[in-house]
């Protein structure tokens, strides 16, 4: 198999097979919290996509060329979270300068991304070596494929969920299930559907 096919398969597997929200459980907080409206869900998804790809792009060289030679790999969590926090700031500034309308649309979701575990989770997976991680990326290509697939997976799932939830509001749900419980049950059904992708690209 040539390199390009491996790259594509890695994207598909982190997008569909091990979906970031429904099977790896990253970013549930924002998934549940921001999926009330389609528009805000899409804004959040786009912002997260930005930050995940950038963070993966920056953190891989930091790990390989700075932390490993300096034998400071145990510091990875602290370094990554600082990288992510400053990246979010930079992205905020850049977006504000070049596209004020997008900045307005992203609004408060931009700073919230720092604490979205999808970002830190992907970065950790990309550099981790060990069986306990779903993805232990072997090289830069796989790391980037994981970042791309994960972030697109997050975007798609949060928008789908927002669409379903706007329909659910009109539905006649039992009183106790109103709001969050029924949203979680919906997520469970989505997770069941995504289990159908298991085996692709294996």
């Amino acid at each position: 198999m040539n390199y390009f096919v491996t790259f594509l398969l890695a994207i598909v597997s982190s997008f569909l097979v091990d979906n970031v929200v429904l099977s790896r459980f990253y970013g549930i907080c924002s998934f549940v919290g921001v999926s009330n409206r389609v528009k805000s869900a899409a804004s959040m998804g786009i912002a997260v996509t930005f930050v995940i790809v950038l963070a993966a792009l920056v953190s891989w060289p930091i790990y390989v060329f700075i932390l490993v030679p300096a034998e400071l790999t145990f510091m990875d969590t602290i370094v990554y979270i600082l990288v992510i926090a400053s990246l979010v700031q930079v992205v905020g500034l850049v977006v504000k300068k070049f596209s004020p309308s997008l900045y307005k649309a992203l609004g408060i979701y931009l700073p919230l991304i720092t604490t979205n575990c999808a970002v830190l989770g992907v970065v950790q997976e990309n550099t981790a070596k060990g069986a306990s991680y779903a993805y232990a990326a072997a090289d830069f290509g796989t790391a980037m494929a994981n970042a791309l697939g994960t972030s697109v997976g997050f975007l798609v799932v949060i928008v789908l969920m927002a669409c379903i939830r706007t329909r659910l509001e009109a539905a006649n749900t039992p009183k106790a299930f109103k709001g969050l419980p029924i949203a979680l049950i919906t997520a469970a059904l989505m997770a069941l559907a995504f289990m159908g992708f298991q085996g692709i690209g294996a």
């Binding site: 429904l22 099977s23 790896r24 459980f25 990253y26 970013g27 549930i28 907080c29 549940v32 145990f74 510091m75 990875d76 969590t77 602290i78 979270i81 600082l82 926090a85 720092t114 604490t115 979205n116 575990c117 970002v119 830190l120 989770g121 950790q124 997976e125 981790a128 060990g130 069986a131 306990s132 991680y133 779903a134 039992p174 009183k175 106790a176 299930f177 109103k178 709001g179 969050l180 419980p181 029924i182 949203a183 979680l184 049950i185 997520a187 469970a188 059904l189 997770a191 069941l192 289990m195």
Partner: protein, 252 residues
Amino acid sequence: MEEKKRYFHKESFLKPIWQENPLFVLVLGTCPALAVTKTFEASLGMGILFTFVLVFSNVIISALRKIIPDEVHIPCYIVVIATFVTITKMMTEAFLPELYSSLGVFLALLVVNCIVLGRAEAFANKNTVGDSLLDGLGNGVGFTLALCIIGLVREILGTGMLTLGNIFTFIQVNGEAIHLPILKAVDGSYDFSISLFSNPAGGFITLGVIMAIIAAVNNHKAAIAKAKALEEKKRQAALKAQQAQAAVGGDK
């Protein structure tokens, strides 16, 4: 005024355990609550490590609350939290390697846990060290309790038995984990387990149903309170009318 001078407040420990439970009531920290609750032991381990991180980060942030400048407080909190998460990670890897490998990346993800950052932001930076310690303990115990409930339900329904000793290896008997057959016999003579609950979908269902049960109980309580208040009002009105009647009768 006396209340304010006290160094420890019992409420800051007791409230978060059930009344303001971080997971079931405030719906924070859902990522670990779904990801590591496949088994009871992993849930318990996660809860204990979480409590450790939360207590220490709360204490340090509360002690530094007058030094940390307001403009950069979030990065400061994150560095404090990340330090304790790194310590926890290294200790767990050294002393409980089974727990370390079963928690995986979610141990590192404690850095961005909404509860830890939320308690720092909402409580530790305004209150005394002693109170923050109690608040951290209370939230930790509450979260551990919530994780253990989900873990118990998922493990028993998903695998049919409760396994002890896979992760906390010191409770093994004769070098083997203890299996408590509940829905599934050890020899396989009966098996009522639902493997869906071991899957990701089962986590969502369990959390959703538990939250619905809590909402139902609260709705029921509210309805009873409302009915009682209504009855009390009626009784008062009747009493007043009686008194008025008596007063009128006395006048005659």
